[in-house]
Symmetry: C2
Subunit: 163 residues, 2 copies
């Protein structure tokens, strides 16, 4: 195979993920402070809780892939109520910290790992590429819900195609 | 490189996309007939229009990648109002037709194409992998909006992780 014979390189996948994360950051910013923590539709979670779920998955997923040791999901710091950001500023700071941690951890994933099967968090079995895409797809899914929250509040969300 | 040294194979990417499309099909099915075509929140489009957008992108994207010739977006049949499904059954049939067409076209994309840059539909420039992920991501994004429509109607959507 030539070096170009690949669907997507690890470096491009990182850029793809961080591009999505950059858009999600702008969706967090677009919420009024109170609505970020209190507003939802149809009994769903407020957007802050959806963003905290994303933060709870991202670095712990990479740590598991790299070390082959998985935290229990309930042991992850940000999943504990007392450790969760309660202001937009604190949530954005947690977001930016995760951005840097992802960038630092990513090069530690050898390309041979992407096809290895792991039982993520001791619960979900699948190849490493699947787990990474689960992080990205779950973020897109919940961010799409955030778009509806914003529209229903009369707020124009950032364009989906800008990353 | 060994044959396993890849983030995701073309075959796995097809399965990933069709897994998402299978979930989206179940979201279409979950809508009551009238709400599929008439219901939305915050001035957004009804879920039928979001699904039709997905159908308008999928096969035309693959045709462009394979032939290097791009239709204008406004020339795509399903983007024309008179060609759009107006019942749930017709939308599901169009969905299933696209499923088969994607499966038939996919093997015609040589792996060397994924890194080639195309100007999709004469408008959007990027590597082929980016265009494929744009299709998938756009579907996840709009489907996430469909989840909010369903929840706001008191309808439980299918689980996100079931594909």
């Amino acid at each position: 195979m030539s070096t170009t014979s690949t669907v997507i390189s690890p470096a491009d996948l990182l850029q793809h993920w961080q591009g999505h994360r950059n858009l999600t950051r702008r969706v967090i910013e677009a919420f009024p402070e109170d609505k970020l923590f209190n507003y939802s539709i149809g009994g769903m979670r407020p957007f802050s809780q959806l963003a905290i779920e994303m933060l709870g998955m991202a670095v712990p997923s990479l740590n598991g892939v790299i070390t082959k040791t998985w935290e229990k999901f309930e042991d992850i710091e940000i999943t504990k109520k007392e450790n969760q950001p309660t202001t937009k500023q604190a949530l954005l700071e947690a977001w930016d910290k995760t951005t840097e941690e992802i960038n630092a951890l990513w090069p530690k994933i050898d390309i041979s790992r992407f096809q290895d099967v792991e039982v993520a968090f001791g619960l979900w079995e699948g190849p490493v590429y699947w787990l990474i895409f689960y992080n990205i797809d779950n973020e897109i899914h919940h961010r799409g819900q955030g778009y509806v929250y914003l529209r229903s509040l009369g707020i124009e969300p950032p364009p989906f195609w800008e990353r």
